[in-house]
């Protein structure tokens, strides 16, 4: 691995928002490198955010070294930003992204691309539908395709330990349905140390990538698997086809690597880093 030059280390700061302040890190290109673009990053949620921090930071430095300024923001109630997760709302997150987008456009005047990982990618797509500023390109890393499925998977973490006790029909059955019923009654639920509000759950439930075809900007979609020869999964292929029917330019990239957002061990994914950097043209046209 080549060492990162000190000039591409990030600049941490707090961005004031209507609900407090969001922790941000700005990675500017070194002085000797011409600015040729800017990228706003949306992180995944829960443990996936912690597990992917390092890879996101490494990628941001690689972008900056190549002339692409990057802004990473911890959304409201996440990471080092103000608010508890219980106070987090989908709309607040989109408002945070809008502020960050504006900050980036003002401080790194160049075409802005949006980059998101997992649920962060789905949030980016939803944000972009009503974004006031133009988007040059979407970089989706293993995007979550359906908010409802994601929420069920997340609620399921509560029952991991009892997952396979006995046979069908035992006492853990309807576990996620019981949690969903609590949410429907207006109660928060706690899973894996995160308190989820009914409002956030309801908003996540309603997001579906099928209906979020990005109107402006090209899309580079990256999926990570143990084998590069694999075609896009049936679920991914379905959405890409739907988007292409709406004349959206989507390129699917399959890269070899591990599901780093799900692994407790610190990992790297050089193939993903290289393939992602390669989609940005070397010269601004």
């Amino acid at each position: 691995m080549t060492g990162s030059p000190a000039s591409t280390s990030g600049l941490p700061f707090f961005l004031p928002t209507s609900s407090g302040q969001c922790f941000c890190i700005y990675y500017a290109p070194p002085a000797a490198v011409a600015l040729r673009g800017a990228i706003l990053y949306a992180h995944p949620f829960g443990e996936e955010m912690n597990r992917s921090r390092r890879i996101a930071a490494v990628q941001a430095r690689a972008f900056a070294a190549a002339g692409l300024a990057v802004l990473q923001i911890d959304l409201h109630g996440c990471g080092d930003s103000s608010g508890d997760f219980a106070e987090a709302r989908w709309q607040t997150w989109k408002d945070d992204l809008a502020l960050a987008h504006g900050w980036l456009a003002a401080n790194a005047p160049s075409p802005v691309s949006l980059w998101g990982l997992r649920l962060g990618a789905l949030l980016m797509l939803d944000y972009a539908r009503h974004a006031a500023l133009p988007v040059e390109r979407f970089v989706l890393w293993q995007p979550v395709l359906n908010g409802q499925a994601w929420l069920t998977q997340w609620l399921r973490l509560r029952f991991a330990i009892h997952m396979l006790d006995g046979e069908s029909g035992n006492n853990h059955v309807h576990g996620t349905q019981a949690l969903r019923a609590e949410l429907a009654q207006g109660q928060s639920v706690e899973v894996a140390g995160y308190e989820l509000s009914p409002a956030l759950a309801c908003a996540i439930d309603a997001v579906d990538a099928t209906t979020l075809a990005p109107a402006g900007g090209e899309v580079d979609w990256f999926d990570i698997a143990g084998n590069a020869d694999k075609p896009p999964s049936p679920a991914t292929a379905k959405i890409i086809t739907a988007w292409q029917r709406q004349s959206i330019e989507v390129r699917h990239h399959q890269v070899v690597g591990q599901a780093f957002w799900a692994l407790p061990e610190i990992t790297e994914c050089q193939a993903l880093a290289d393939a992602t950097l390669a989609v940005f043209p070397a010269q601004m046209s």
Partner: protein
């Protein structure tokens, strides 16, 4: 529409990815999973379910997640195939 062989192959690919199985542990349709593969613990089950759901665009209900479904590659593939057919 995927046929049985394709579904089984994709299920095996997902199990290999998620469980990070060594090459000498090559899975086949009749390979036993739960209780036979040490890597297949409760967190692995959660991760396999998530990967299957995201890959095939299916959704597993609470009462469908039982030991019998995860008995073997064949039982898991049959389950996925049934979900896809719905």
């Amino acid at each position: 529409m995927l046929d049985t062989l394709e579904v089984t192959q994709q299920v095996i690919a997902i199990l290999n990815d998620v469980l990070a199985l060594q090459p000498d542990h090559a899975l086949r349709a009749d390979s036993l999973l739960l209780g036979s593969i040490p890597e297949f613990d409760s967190m692995a089950v959660i991760n396999v379910i998530t990967a299957l759901e995201e890959h095939f665009g299916i959704s597993m209900q609470d009462d469908e997640i039982c030991a019998a479904t995860f008995d073997s590659v064949a039982s898991l593939s049959t389950f996925v195939e049934r979900q896809l057919g719905q």
